[in-house]
């Protein structure tokens, strides 16, 4: 196999009570990449469509992630990468992670899988540094592995795949506004009340238990964020109204996707998800800000080959 075409899905990180440790994989939105072996060593980005991103390998998320993977292998060939972006940068649904995950997944396939998908998370995180300034795995892990993933810890990296019910759907509403990374970070408090940490831990425990036992009510009761959302939501116009519309129409929970500005909701069943999406859409229309909205089943497969 010399060439592979892959799908790298969007993801929702944080999920209310899982700040920095939890994420899930979507299936209706994602980038495509074509990766092929090349007689030239190293990695060359040969095409980027759909986004204005640096094409220089060491400045490109996919390039850096790919280099991290191959740097310890003694290869006498290299790779060319074409990137077709559908996930908008800065949307809060894992745009850079999809590029990082796609690069390492595709290269690993072309090399006949020297690494497991979980091992690939490590390399993809190296690419994430270019986009976010820090190594984090809460988007690249669900993007590669699919489903819900928990980052138990980083020292060493410890990824846990969490079983989830089949009828869980996610809605993502992406307002076309830019939240500056500096602003998103500035509202996060470096010190928090112990009581908030206890509340958050209880909710995260409830969410994990609810996912394992298909207890949708428990999942819903657990989807609460007392640490970040109360501060960050003010950066997203109309956040409370959209969230309340989702909850009033039967969503299990709703919150900020990643660092925003996307707003997500989780629902039981496709019909309920469509109803909730309509309500969120209607609520946001009054802002006159452009937006996309997606309804997606949880993608249990993660990054995948679509042609080889």
């Amino acid at each position: 196999m010399n060439e592979i075409k892959i799908f790298c899905p969007a993801t929702i990180a944080n999920l209310n009570c899982g700040f920095d440790i939890l994420g899930l994989c979507l299936d209706v939105i994602g980038d495509e990449m074509i990766i092929r072996k090349s007689s030239n060593k190293g990695i060359k980005i040969t095409k980027i469509e759909g986004a204005n991103l640096p094409i220089e390998t060491k400045k490109n998320v996919a390039g850096v992630a790919g280099l991290a993977l191959i740097e310890n292998l003694d290869l006498d060939f290299g790779f060319e990468i074409e990137i077709y972006k559908n996930i908008k940068a800065g949307s809060g649904i894992g745009s850079s992670s999809a590029s990082a995950a796609g690069a390492v997944y595709g290269i690993n396939e072309l090399l006949d899988r020297p690494f497991t998908k979980i091992e690939l998370v490590y390399f993809a995180m190296k690419g994430e540094v270019i986009a976010s300034g820090s190594e984090h795995a809460d988007n690249v892990a669900p993007c590669l592995l699919g489903g819900f993933t928990l980052i138990r810890g980083y020292n060493p990296l410890d990824i846990v795949e969490i079983k989830s019910p089949n009828s869980l759907y996610a809605i993502v509403l992406h307002p076309h506004i830019e939240i500056k990374t500096a602003d998103a970070r500035a509202v996060i408090q470096p010190m928090i009340p112990l009581q908030s940490a206890i509340t958050q831990t209880g909710n995260l425990g409830g969410l994990i238990a609810g996912l394992y036992t298909n207890d949708y009510d428990l999942i819903g009761r657990s989807l609460t964020d007392v640490i970040v959302e109360p501060f960050r939501k003010h950066l997203i116009p109309h956040f409370d109204d959209v969230k309340n519309s989702a909850l009033q129409n039967g969503a299990l929970g709703s919150g900020i996707s990643g660092a925003g500005p996307s707003i997500f909701a989780l629902c039981k069943g496709k019909e309920k998800a469509k109803k909730v999406a309509n309500a969120m859409k209607k609520s946001f229309l009054s802002t006159n800000i452009k937006f996309d909205i997606h309804v997606s089943q949880i993608n249990s497969e993660g990054t995948k080959t679509i042609m080889n």
Copy 2:
């Protein structure tokens, strides 16, 4: 049925990463109580053996918990309670919780179960206030329900029973020292670094996932406390040595039971648990402080009737 004899087990709360929200139920150590219907309304404590505790109903944990249960029922009779304490007060393995849980369990049985065990937690918490000054459920919930229990939240009270593997054993070493409540509380920081909360949340998620999937290694990796143990352990002589002995001999994890001074460890299998208990015992002997040590399977039943 006019009289019931019950067993009210000891419990371990906090379990490293579940400060204030997680507990488990032991089966080799616990109190016994005899509760009988009386023609006199209200509740009368008629006997307390094994501990020097107030016999006045409104100053006694069992009395207050029992009163909380019956106060909304229009009964033309009351109850007498005999308490046989085996769990030492201030040991950190739920002595007051056992009394509170036992009282409400026994009265509920004699009334033909108007309440579920989960509903009884609410009344038992009222008794806990007498002992600890605040309503908390992380001991009374596992004492009543058995197994591992998670307090997802208090407003409203939301108890989640967590499935756990059959071969899990707990060891409890109880040093015969008194930690003053004021000292145990003084070392707790009201504000904590966000990063510590993230680490703790990741570990709690890992522990819950490990319990559901019988993944003992994951359970072990998750049994870490970065919030309370680093400060509270200094109140327990020889804590680090006992903990390290447990870990070096194959314990999955070890930490402070409740607010201490008891030190617990969790193990896979009875033989490993005995080996770990011996190592902990040997390590603590050098202190010349008296202690008890118990090896117990997880008690899946909780408070139970032993004669009626």
